[in-house]
């Protein structure tokens, strides 16, 4: 949590804003994506659809917390944003791949 201390003691305005934005908004967006992806993909592993939605939503809060921590742990705000995008890509890909079968 060295990163947290750095930003309470000194304030590089823009970098800190970018990091808070990454944690709060970016983190929430990625958490939503993961929650949605789990709700779609877990039934493919044999889970009930309703069960998957409930489990993914319950798990979303610790997931969000971990993402926020990771954002503050990253060495820079830029890396934090890159990390968020890196996390979003596989979720989006998996969702994209599951689309045709979902339709058909």
């Amino acid at each position: 949590m060295a990163a947290v201390r750095r930003f309470t003691v000194s304030d590089h305005g823009l970098s800190v804003t970018a990091r808070i934005l990454a944690a709060v908004a970016g983190g929430y967006a990625l958490t939503s994506l993961i929650t949605f992806a789990l709700s779609r993909l877990l039934p493919r592993a044999g889970m009930l659809q309703s069960e998957a939605v409930l489990a993914a939503t319950i798990a979303s809060f610790p997931i969000y917390a971990v993402i926020v921590m990771a954002v503050f742990h990253a060495r820079s705000a830029r890396r934090a944003w890159l990390g968020l995008i890196a996390g979003a890509v596989p979720c989006a890909l998996a969702l994209g791949l599951s689309m045709p079968t979902a339709a058909g």
Binding site: D11, V16, S39, S50, L54, A55, T57, F61, A65
Partner: protein, 526 residues
């Protein structure tokens, strides 16, 4: 930006302090309500449910004949001898549920207790503030509390993972023993009740999870019929749809339904009889048992309200995750807890409250230490100190004022229950003024003394205004009632202890650092 962080963190802390302290009253809500309605004495044995049910039904038919639903709450369980009815009016426009009202009835006469029993929000109004706050729209309140709770979960997880490091980074400024003790206290409170804090925070979010994280449920089960199917599937199916305004139809008598319930669960084990669409075609009657296990799964019988035939019996199993959700919510509410576990719940809630309080004090004392070197930001620190004192000591004073108001406001007063709450917030607000008016060190001392008096004198106020004082309660063996008085006394003694603590500290400071200029020079050198 540091300003945003500081004030953001503090704001969250102040809200969480309020949430934890008022929430702790949720473990004692019925006990507090009983104390706040001294006119109602717990009858040794309330009349049998079979006699009360027709009285409740008759009252509802007379006073709320055309309603979406009726509820008859039978005595027993933690509520003791309380007997009441509730009803929902027909909803406006698109809403599925109408407005809910509740009326306490006298078990002996079957008549409303209005005029004979003081109108009060009781323990329920107090504990409901911990998730819906007060004086603001429900959705806004739930959103504010949710954001703060998420912050809390984050603080707990970071605390667990990087325990040593985070405390070193955040809280260690190594200024003096005073602050070290605050830190030690904070650690002790955090760690001892850690499982409780994790459970209470996560489950708090789960209560409103589909508000906070709606994406999955909104996509797969949109509001309406699909959402009902979702709940039925994961939780099992002891839910009934809200009553609909269908054609008028004859109702089957409720007596045989209660008789069937009593034959299943035993005499006086029935908590609630709920009728959806009373007097309409498609009426449904759901009968609930008192006992709620850790899973919040009460036993239920669902009847066709028109024919009287049994439709289904609950609780159904639900899915594994559904059971997990219900266990989490059950743990949060602690309704299943007996006296010993309930006491532990109260202590854990108070430990959480104290953990936040010590955290807030640490926060400002840490910054005060910085201030000794840095002349800027006097105003900010002073403001934080005022808000800390007004929140940490002021809120207990406000809650005590809520109980004083319960005893001192005229019994027949209009909007009495609302005024009890107004008094609480006015008294609480005034403590901020006291904190602003007085110099910082005096403010804490004087507010603690005020809190000691406000809490410690409650048993006296009770004894003077009712015939159910502490001595009488103990003589009657009414430990629920006596317990309230004793707890108030305990809270008073606790604040008296704080007064002693502050005075000792002041004396020590006066003795060791007598000449002020030297002190300032020392601080500058450091």
């Amino acid at each position: 930006m540091a300003l945003v962080h500081t004030w953001g963190g503090l704001l969250v802390g102040w809200v969480l302090f309020f949430v934890f302290l008022t929430g702790t009253f949720g473990y004692l809500n019925t006990e507090v309500t009983r104390w706040m309605k001294p006119e109602i004495r717990a009858a040794a044995t309330p009349p049998p449910a079979a006699e009360l049910l027709p009285a409740g039904e008759a009252w509802l038919a007379r006073e709320a004949g055309d309603a979406q639903s009726w509820y008859i709450f039978l005595p027993g369980g933690r509520s003791g001898g309380a007997f009441s009815v509730g009803w929902r009016t027909w909803p406006d426009g698109e809403a599925r549920f109408g407005a809910f009202s509740r009326q306490a009835l006298d078990p002996a006469s079957g008549q409303a207790t209005t005029g004979t029993v003081r109108e009060t929000g009781g323990g329920d109004t107090l504990y409901r503030m911990h998730y819906r706050l007060h004086y603001m729209p429900y959705d806004l309140a739930v959103a504010i509390v949710g954001i703060c709770t998420m912050f809390m979960l984050l603080a707990i997880i970071t605390g667990v993972i990087v325990h040593k490091k985070i405390f070193r980074d955040f809280f260690t400024f190594r200024v003096g023993r005073g602050q070290r003790s605050w830190l030690d206290g904070h650690n002790l409170l955090s760690v001892t009740a850690l499982p409780f804090h994790v459970m209470i925070t996560w489950s708090g979010l789960i209560f409103y999870m589909f508000t906070y994280m709606p994406v999955a449920v909104d996509s797969f089960y949109p509001e309406g019929e699909a959402r009902d199917r979702f709940h039925t599937e994961v939780l099992g199916s002891d839910r009934i749809a809200p009553g609909t305004n269908g054609p008028v139809a004859r109702m089957a008598p409720l007596g045989p339904m209660l008789a069937l319930a009593e034959s299943r669960w035993g005499q006086n084990q029935t908590a609630t009889v709920r009728i959806e669409g009373p007097g309409r075609a498609n009426a449904r009657v759901l009968v609930y048992s008192h006992d709620t296990g850790i899973r919040r799964a009460r036993q239920t019988l669902l009847f066709d309200g028109n024919s009287g035939s049994l439709l289904s019996e609950g609780p159904k199993a639900g899915t594994a995750t559904g059971r997990f959700e219900q266990v989490m919510l059950g743990l949060h509410e602690g309704r299943f807890a007996g006296p010993v576990l309930r006491a532990l719940y109260v202590f854990a809630g108070l430990a959480g409250t104290a953990m936040i309080a010590t955290g807030l004090v640490l926060w400002s004392s840490k910054r005060k230490a910085k201030l000794a070197r840095d002349e800027n930001g006097h105003l900010g620190i002073a403001a934080v100190d005022i808000l800390n004192a007004g929140t940490i000591i002021g809120l207990p004073i406000g809650i005590a004022a809520y109980f004083w108001a319960n005893r001192l406001l005229p019994v027949g007063m209009e909007d009495r229950a609302a005024w009890e709450v107004h008094v609480m917030f006015i008294a609480w607000g005034l403590t901020y003024l006291v904190a602003m008016w007085r110099p910082a060190s005096r403010a804490w001392l004087e507010l603690c003394a005020l809190a000691a008096a406000a809490c410690g004198l409650l048993p006296l106020v009770n004894a003077l205004t009712t015939d159910r004082g502490l001595v009488a309660s103990i003589a009657d063996g009414d430990w629920g009632f006596a317990g309230f008085d004793l707890s108030a006394l305990g809270a008073g003694l606790f604040f008296l202890f704080l007064v002693g603590l502050i005075r000792r500290k002041d004396r020590r400071r006066a003795a060791t650092r007598a000449p002020m200029p030297a002190d300032a020079a020392k601080a500058k050198a450091a």
